[in-house]
């Protein structure tokens, strides 16, 4: 929680004046105000009464302590994300039964299942002090706890759909050994940290779509005294203070937002009073606040934070009303500027309206406007973008400098569920693309241009090592996507394991670099030797390089080898995939009466590899 957060009884009337959920969310995002339970409930009722359509989120809660007191906070935080929470609580204390295929939890078909557990549930020895446990008995207990937890989560993974989120309630008291704990070989804190790390390893390796939501992080944020309300714990077995309840609800619904809402991809940054204090055009490079002293150190901290977001896989762009040379001088020469020109995938430094610049950024980066988070200190600019580009999420730079470094930390869509190699080098990929465009511009013959790229495509079939990236591609790809079906890691794993599905993906490299895994096809094989193209998608970053045709031909050649005689495919139009409207007819598919497309592979067999300007390695 932000230290500046304060209670404000006058906030409610202005919030209740909002005429849409989006409007209310915008007003709420601009305030660090803590809300009381009653205020949150009042706002929830107001949000529910608005005509705006909300997206349903089905939440299942399995718990070994009282959980229904979280509901008002969960509902509120869901509504704040534009989600409507449908919450099911499993019977108190029963954990393993809920994982049975015929359980009420499974029948609830949750998008997210939240496990609220205590350490004591994990092993009988944990209800006693472990302050004298050393050596093998200590590591043995850790191994057993990790094994028990992994087994429990596997049972849930086997029968419960959606994301599975484990929480472990932190201790109500500091370690049993007190101050000596951190020095002791029997350290309780170190033991728990070890268990969490070992469990995380198992989740990564074996249990897709299963994660640990670490409540210790919230405990650290709030402090033990603010996290627990001992009165409710000892009277009703409900551990959380209102502050902690809301924070837990916020984190759960952030997960919901990532699953249900369009993915954020780009952070568009204002410069003056956002990346540094002051106005560079007036104060000059040496006059802006950026450096070791307050308030310049706050802006250095924020820039560091922005580099964290870049490591999470978000693209940074600059959108500033300034003379380009003033801003570029800071990017190139200021000794304390952390974000240099190469950290930005694209820059707009001019005097045009920001809405216009954001549109052109979306065009250049080949992403939708709904994948932007825009941050600016000016009320005027924020409001203009908020009202003219309703799909962009707007964050106003806080007026108090102290609040700036953390101002994006609570933007739900800037959380990530997975992190792939592609994410880590995304900005570099866009810089490569800029160079590719320059080459194309200097080349009048498109075929010659494609050959000059010296492209190599690596196709893999049913490869589980790429699970995270493949699920991510189904979640994020909007434009080059025939059916826009979203799949979780667990779904993709099922397709990979199933004999009657083919999961094909490709990565693409050229003289400018390796774009990583950028294309995916999911094919369902029928008993009558026909195939159905469930999903065919490609990342926007390789559009225009003829990769889709080479990939389709390679896929069809592989299917023909397996005796497949025809392929049925669908184009499901969305607001964003007009790009592929003609893809099927242009690739030998014939429109049928039932709105499907059919390609007879005997009549129209796939072309040879050498007709494409791409070398293919298909293992």
């Amino acid at each position: 929680m932000n230290s500046s957060a304060k209670r404000d009884n006058d906030i409610l009337p202005s919030l209740l004046g909002a005429s849409s959920g989006r409007e209310l969310r915008y007003r709420l995002s601009a305030t660090a105000t803590q809300l009381t339970l009653v205020q949150a409930q009042t706002l929830s009722r107001h949000l529910e009464s608005l005509p705006e359509a909300t997206i349903g989120l089905r939440l299942g809660i399995v718990h070994t302590y009282t959980s229904d007191l979280l509901d008002p906070w969960l509902r509120f935080e869901a509504l704040r994300q534009g989600l409507h929470a449908d919450i099911y609580h499993a019977p108190y204390g029963i954990t393993i039964q809920a994982a049975q295929p015929d359980s009420d939890l499974v029948a609830h078909a949750p998008d997210v299942t939240l496990l609220l557990m205590q350490w004591e549930d994990l092993h009988p020895d944990l209800s006693r002090p472990i302050g004298r446990l050393v050596g093998e008995s200590r590591s043995g207990l850790a191994a057993q706890v990790v094994e028990n937890l992994t087994a429990l989560l596997s049972k849930f993974r086997d029968s419960v759909p959606g994301e599975i989120v484990l929480t472990l309630l932190p201790s109500l008291l500091p370690p049993g050994l007190g101050e000596f704990d951190s020095r002791s070989e029997a350290s309780e804190s170190a033991w728990r940290a070890g268990v969490k790390a070992a469990l995380a390893g198992n989740l990564r390796g074996r249990l897709p779509g299963t994660r640990l939501l670490d409540l210790d992080e919230t405990l650290m944020q709030l402090g033990r005294q603010s996290f627990f309300d001992l009165r409710f714990w000892y009277s009703s077995r409900f551990p959380f203070s209102p502050l902690a309840s809301r924070e837990l609800a916020r984190r759960v619904m952030a997960l919901g937002a990532i699953i249900k809402l369009p993915k954020a991809k780009v952070i568009a940054l204002d410069a003056d009073n956002t990346l540094w204090g002051g106005i560079v055009g007036e104060d000059g490079m040496n006059g802006i606040a950026l450096g070791p002293d307050y308030p310049g150190n706050v802006f250095v901290a924020f820039q560091r934070r922005l580099l964290d977001f870049q490591q999470r896989g978000f693209i940074l762009t600059l959108c500033s009303k300034n003379n380009p040379e003033d801003v570029l001088q800071v990017l190139h020469e200021h000794p304390h500027q952390l974000l240099r020109e190469e950290h930005f995938a694209a820059l707009r430094i001019n005097w045009a309206p920001k809405t216009e610049n954001l549109r052109s950024l979306a065009e250049e980066l080949n992403v939708g406007l709904d994948s932007f988070v825009f941050i600016d200190d000016s009320d005027h600019e924020c409001l203009a973008v908020h009202s003219e580009l309703p799909h962009i999420e707007v964050v106003k730079t806080p007026e108090r400098p102290l609040a700036i470094p953390s101002c994006l930390d609570r933007v739900a869509r800037l959380e990530v569920l997975t992190l792939t190699e592609e994410d880590a080098q995304k900005t570099e990929l866009y810089v490569q693309e800029r160079r590719r465009r320059d080459l194309a511009a200097g080349n009048s013959d498109p075929t010659a241009y494609l050959h000059s790229l010296n492209m190599q495509m690596r196709i893999r079939f049913d490869d589980p090592s790429a699970l995270g990236r493949l699920a991510q591609l189904t979640q994020k790809t909007n434009q080059f996507n025939l059916t826009t079906r979203r799949y979780s890691e667990a779904d993709v794993q099922r397709f990979i394991e199933a004999n009657d599905w083919v999961v094909a993906h490709f990565s693409l490299a050229d003289i400018f670099g390796d774009a990583g895994i950028v294309g995916l096809a999911l094919v369902h094989l029928r008993a009558d030797m026909t195939a159905e193209l469930d999903t065919f998608l490609m990342s926007c970053r390789v559009i225009g390089r003829a990769a889709e045709s080479a990939f389709l031909d390679a896929l069809l050649r592989r299917l023909c080898e397996r005796g497949i005689r025809s392929m049925r495919a669908y184009f499901l139009p969305t607001a964003k995939n007009a790009l592929v409207r003609d893809f099927l007819p242009r690739h030998g598919f014939v429109f049928q009466d039932d709105d499907s497309y059919l390609r007879d592979l005997i009549v129209a067999p796939p072309a040879d590899e050498n007709v494409h300007p791409i070398r293919i390695d298909a293992a």
Binding site: V38, L69, L230, S235, F238
Partner: protein, 78 residues
């Protein structure tokens, strides 16, 4: 606004009922919405609305409008 009217305003959202459902004789024993979940909600709401801090011992004593009004009076809320 009388303390009772203020209390109505606080209790209604906490118990998720309309304000006129709350009468001077309302109690856990005669109001279905005032269940154990509603009661904990109500305790939090009372603290927020009246700026008081309840002790765990108070929770079980404040099971009726009459008891809450008496308690508020003892805390100087009139």
């Amino acid at each position: 606004m009388s303390t009772f009217e203020q209390l109505q305003e606080v209790m209604a959202p906490a118990l998720n009922v309309s304000a006129d459902t709350i009468t001077p004789t309302s109690a856990q024993s005669n109001l279905a919405a005032w269940d154990s979940l509603g009661h904990v909600n109500l305790m939090v709401a009372l603290e927020d609305a009246f700026g008081i801090e309840l002790q765990i011992e108070d929770f079980s004593k404040l099971g009726s409008v009459r008891a809450i009004l008496e308690y508020l009076k003892s805390q100087g809320v009139e």
